[in-house]
């Protein structure tokens, strides 16, 4: 970044910690960007003439006589249609060898949408994965994370969701992503021929941790441009938000803030909410939907990061390896989409809510039967049938490799009901039983 003529250069740094440095300077605005020997930094504290800067890539190698130049602006991104198809770093600079983007410069982390200007989300997002579409239907304007252990294929599932969803733009925000996963996404996007509707902001594990604090705001600023200015349906993928929270705790620790639960800063809820609440359905048709990843440690959802996330997001999707079928499934018990009732049975076939609930209930009966079996109790005939049902249900519907439309998912579920149960055992309203159970071949089960 070139130094402009009128800018004052400071060359005396008073104190340096691992992530911050302080100097005497005047006329500096809060949140403003600066460069310290060419490294990007942001004002995090002003006390009289003492200004504290957070240096994104760390303070290693910064001397006390480093050149500090204040840029007079907060972190910003140039937005225009030229963003499409490009890969950027956390500062919004291209990393794909292409030219810099021309456009209107917008400060990231901008204001919130006035709640009375929002519209209630009502458009379904089809992903082809029955564990999502059938049991936890997603809606435009929703925000929902995958809660997954680090060894689960959450990035692959998310990529699948992104590629199949009918959206105008997909914006990927990668935080602390391994280089391998970055290359996987890059390869996938390039090969799918969908590159022109994808924008990526990347912070890999090779980049400094603090830089990733900029990623969600960069991605969402780009998303707001397309959703507000172009009325487009934008899907934002944020992976992995736990890494983001880790970076928050590093910074707050360096700034001597008192940590709250799990060493996270006391403002974690607000920090996460500011990101997730950018998900919105606009009355003009544009929308921002956020699908995120929160990695768990040993499935513990009481940890501060998943816990606060759960209170903010509209549900969560759990991945689990099902040892009976040897595949990863979307766990129907712990997953939840809070907005599904806005579309299930309304935008989808009418029997959807009842079929969904009946199948999950029977799957729960199977889980009880399994416990009985493991404890050495005798199984009833019903128990055995639920177990057989559960295995096929898991394999044909819950597994993440499924790709069906919602009608097909419902039909498959009805077939499984017919195969394993009597109509009175599935507890579905009579009109649907008549239509989908007895109707097709007229026979009584």
């Amino acid at each position: 970044m070139a130094t402009e003529a009128f800018q004052k250069i400071y060359t005396k740094i008073n104190s340096i910690t691992k992530a911050t440095c302080s100097l005497k300077a005047t006329g500096v605005g809060y949140d403003e960007l600066a460069t310290v020997n060419g490294k990007l930094a942001q004002v995090v504290k002003i006390m009289g003439d003492e200004v504290t800067l957070q240096v994104f890539e760390g303070t290693g190698g910064i001397p006390t006589d480093a050149e500090v130049v204040f840029m007079g602006k907060a972190p910003s991104l140039k937005v225009s249609d030229q963003l499409a198809g490009r890969f950027f770093n956390a500062y919004g600079d291209p990393i794909d060898g292409g030219p810099a983007v021309e456009g209107v410069e917008v400060e990231i982390g901008g204001p919130s949408v006035n709640p009375v200007r929002r519209k209630q989300p009502s458009e379904l997002i089809a992903t082809g994965i029955a564990g999502i579409d059938l049991n936890n239907t997603l809606v435009t304007g929703q925000k929902i994370p995958f809660f997954a252990d680090p060894d689960q294929p959450y990035n692959q599932v998310m990529a699948n969701v992104a590629m199949r969803a009918e959206t105008d733009k997909i914006i990927l925000g990668g935080m602390g992503m391994t280089n391998d996963d970055y290359l996987y996404f890059k390869h996938l996007f390039s090969n799918a021929g969908a590159l022109d509707r994808i924008i990526s902001f990347m912070n890999t594990t090779e980049d400094p941790a603090v830089e990733r604090l900029l990623i969600p705001d960069m991605a969402l600023t780009a998303a707001e441009y397309f959703a507000v200015e172009k009325n487009e349906k934008v899907l934002v993928l944020l992976t992995d938000m736990t890494m983001y929270a880790d970076a928050l705790s590093i910074v707050s620790n360096r700034m001597d803030q008192i940590p709250s639960k799990d060493s996270m800063p006391g403002s974690l809820y607000s920090d996460l909410a500011k990101i997730y609440e950018k998900a919105v359905q606009f009355p003009t048709g544009g929308s921002i939907t956020i699908i995120a990843v929160t990695t768990l440690s040993g499935g513990d959802i009481t940890h501060a990061v998943p816990d606060n996330t759960g209170y903010i997001t509209e549900g969560q999707l759990f991945l689990r390896r099902d040892s009976d079928i040897g595949k990863v499934i979307v766990d129907p018990f712990r997953s939840l989409s809070r907005l599904k009732q806005l579309v299930a049975g309304k935008k989808t076939r009418k029997d959807h809510p009842q079929v969904m609930n009946a199948a999950v209930r029977l799957y729960a009966d199977a889980a009880n039967a399994k416990t009985k079996l493991e404890n050495g109790f005798d199984l009833t005939d019903y128990d055995r049938r639920t177990l057989a049902f559960a295995k096929e249900y898991s394999d044909q519907l819950l597994a993440i490799d499924v790709n069906l439309n919602t009608e097909e998912m419902l039909d498959v579920t009805w077939e499984l009901f017919k195969k394993h149960f009597k109509p009175e055992e599935v507890n579905i309203r009579k009109e649907f039983i008549e239509k989908y159970w007895l109707g097709q071949n007229g026979e009584k089960a």
Partner: protein, 587 residues
């Protein structure tokens, strides 16, 4: 001359000012930066160094920028025209703001000064009034609102003049009052009141005793809340806090409902915006929105304003209570409010209490809950603020500071339980841990007896005992196995399941089951009590469960049927016939 200040430090939304004159704790000031005026509140004073919390983003704020003090604390403007409004935490009218995004420094008038109201005087010249005394009335959305003498004035004032019945704006002078010293006040319909000060211009605050009907059985029947009572709903995420809260705000028999969406999801507020104008108040038949005020300070809105939002909501509630109305105030969630306090305390580098919350969190919560209550006004009328707050305990653990401190002051406790939610037993209120202290009040006993008749509280307590006994037996059966306990144990267990399924569980999405009027709740509890008090003869335990499953099924069908309809009666007949097959007839 107003005190001025200059910015000398910025840490996130905490700003340090050097001031040139007197400043009060909690005084409001405006900081001018780059053409925006940012509202801020004094939170700490140290000589000429004043700490303020800014209700907006402090981005680009610079050292040396100027602040003007206003000489008053954070206050709200109260007048007719507030019903159906959507405010932010500082009482800005959200609908008046331009553009899709909230703009920094955009403050809008909460009131409509142009609207014409029909005013009827309630006093005449020469009458005396005291603070909050009724001087006139105005009707809004079919609610009889009162125009009152200013809150907080001392002693008796004489009405010098009063406007005749007719059409007025809220800014028109409608009365002139004077006190013994000859001081005169010109009154219009607008009151201003500082939100952090409780409004106490009433005669007395007795223990509340009148049932506040919510139509939710697990509340009304088992753990009733009363007009002017306090309650709280803690629960991990996904246990149905919001659904329960919405059910209460839709169905409760209140005149005014104020919903403070405090640091929660914006889409939940949108749901209220979208649905309440369509939904009908079950008590009056009018649209729910007509009696509702929403204070929306969602999680992405500035933290300091979130902290203020619950006070804004409470002060608006106090305004309506002073008119003799029954106000229900719901705050979702008080944990977000406490977290806002924590963020600020942290920035001020105060020594932290448990979980880094400020040390005085317990007194802050206690003070806030104490502003609710049933009051007798100076003119003998009664008004009430019933307050129900939700708590979002971190990790679902109820042993955290906000839950524990709220438990000390709220009189009703509705514990939402993950296990019940997982089993889809909604509302997931744990029947054993939850309580209502009001049920122990002799005043309440007297009131409910006059309303329902003798023996109600005994029946409720009996049902609770059966639930507890059922739970104990379930644990024993888990250890010893179905045939490891006597058959009678199974009967006791299934009687508790009957209470659970028929009384406690309620389908918030079913048109009929969602609301159960008190009369119907009596019938249900009497019916269930009769069944539970009877003795049954079974040969073996398997018979017990299949018999009670049938009983539960019929009772549930009754719950889903219109009250006293043909279907309802025929299910009841079917139930009696079924019961006879196993009943032991006492000689």
């Amino acid at each position: 001359m107003a005190t001025k200040g200059k910015v000398t430090g910025v840490i996130a939304n905490m700003v340090l000012l050097a001031v040139d004159g007197p400043v009060a704790q909690n005084e409001i000031c405006f900081i001018n930066t780059g053409g925006d005026r940012l509202m801020a509140e004094v939170i700490k004073i140290n000589g000429a160094k004043v700490y303020v919390q800014v209700f907006e983003s402090t981005r680009r704020l610079r050292i040396g920028e100027e602040a003007e003090f206003t000489g008053h604390m954070l206050e709200v403007s109260l007048a007719p025209g507030m019903l159906s409004k959507n405010y932010d935490g500082l009482q800005n009218d959200l609908d008046k703001m331009e553009g899709v995004f909230l703009k920094r420094g955009d403050y809008t008038n909460p009131l409509d000064e142009e609207k014409i109201w029909h005013f009827e005087p309630l006093v005449k010249a020469g009458d005396t009034v005291v603070a909050a005394g009724w001087i006139g009335s105005v009707e809004e959305n079919h609610q009889p609102l009162k125009i009152m003498a200013p809150f907080g004035i001392d002693g008796e004032w004489t009405v010098k003049s009063i406007a005749a019945a007719g059409e007025y704006r809220i800014t028109d002078t409608i009365a002139v009052i004077a006190n013994a010293e000859g001081e005169e006040k010109k009154l219009n319909m607008i009151q201003k009141w500082p939100v952090r000060v409780s409004m106490t211009d009433y005669k007395e605050k007795p223990r509340p005793f009148k049932l506040l009907e919510t139509g939710v059985r697990t509340i009304d029947t088992m753990n009733p809340i009363v007009e002017g009572g306090t309650g709280f709903i803690p629960g991990p995420f996904g246990t149905g806090k919001t659904v329960l809260q919405h059910a209460i705000s839709k169905q409760a028999e209140a005149d005014i409902v104020i919903i403070a969406a405090c640091g929660e999801r914006a889409n939940e507020v949108v749901e209220i915006f979208t649905e309440f104008p369509e939904l009908v108040d079950p008590h009056t038949g009018r649209k729910l929105m007509e009696r509702t005020i929403i204070i929306a300070n969602t999680s992405n809105m500035p933290v300091a304003a979130r902290e203020a939002s619950v006070y804004t909501a409470m002060t608006i509630a106090e305004y309506y209570r002073a008119m003799g109305l029954r106000v229900l105030l719901m705050a979702d969630s008080t944990s977000r409010w406490a977290q806002a306090l924590r963020e600020m305390s942290n920035r001020m580098e105060e020594l932290p209490g448990p979980d880094a919350f400020p040390m005085d969190i317990s007194s802050i919560i206690a003070n806030f809950y104490s502003r609710a209550g049933y009051v007798y006004l100076n003119n003998g009328e009664a008004g009430s603020i019933t307050f129900i707050g939700t708590v979002s305990p971190a990790g679902g653990n109820l042993k955290e500071p906000v839950t524990e401190n709220t438990k000390k002051v709220a009189r009703c406790f509705y514990a939402l339980e993950q296990d019940r939610a997982d089993k889809k037993r909604y509302p997931a209120v744990n029947p054993i841990d939850s309580y209502s202290k009001y049920i122990e009040y002799p005043e309440f006993d007297k009131y409910i007896t006059s309303l329902i008749g003798e023996g109600w509280i005994e029946m409720v307590n009996e049902a609770k005992t059966r639930l507890l006994r059922g739970k104990e037996i379930a644990e024993q059966i888990n250890i010893l196995g179905d045939d490891g306990v006597p058959v009678e144990y199974h009967v006791t267990f299934w009687k508790s399941e009957l209470i659970d399924f028929v009384v406690l569980q309620q389908d918030a999405f079913d048109e009929i089951d969602a609301v159960t009027p008190l009369e119907r709740q009596q019938d249900i509890l009497r019916m269930i009590t009769d069944i539970c008090r009877s003795e049954y003869k079974f040969e073996e335990f398997e018979e017990v469960s299949s018999f009670f499953k049938k009983v539960i099924n019929i009772c549930k069908q009754m719950n889903y049927s219109e009250y006293k309809s043909d279907a309802y009666s025929s299910y009841y007949a079917e139930l009696l016939a079924l019961l006879e097959t196993k009943q032991v007839v006492n000689e």
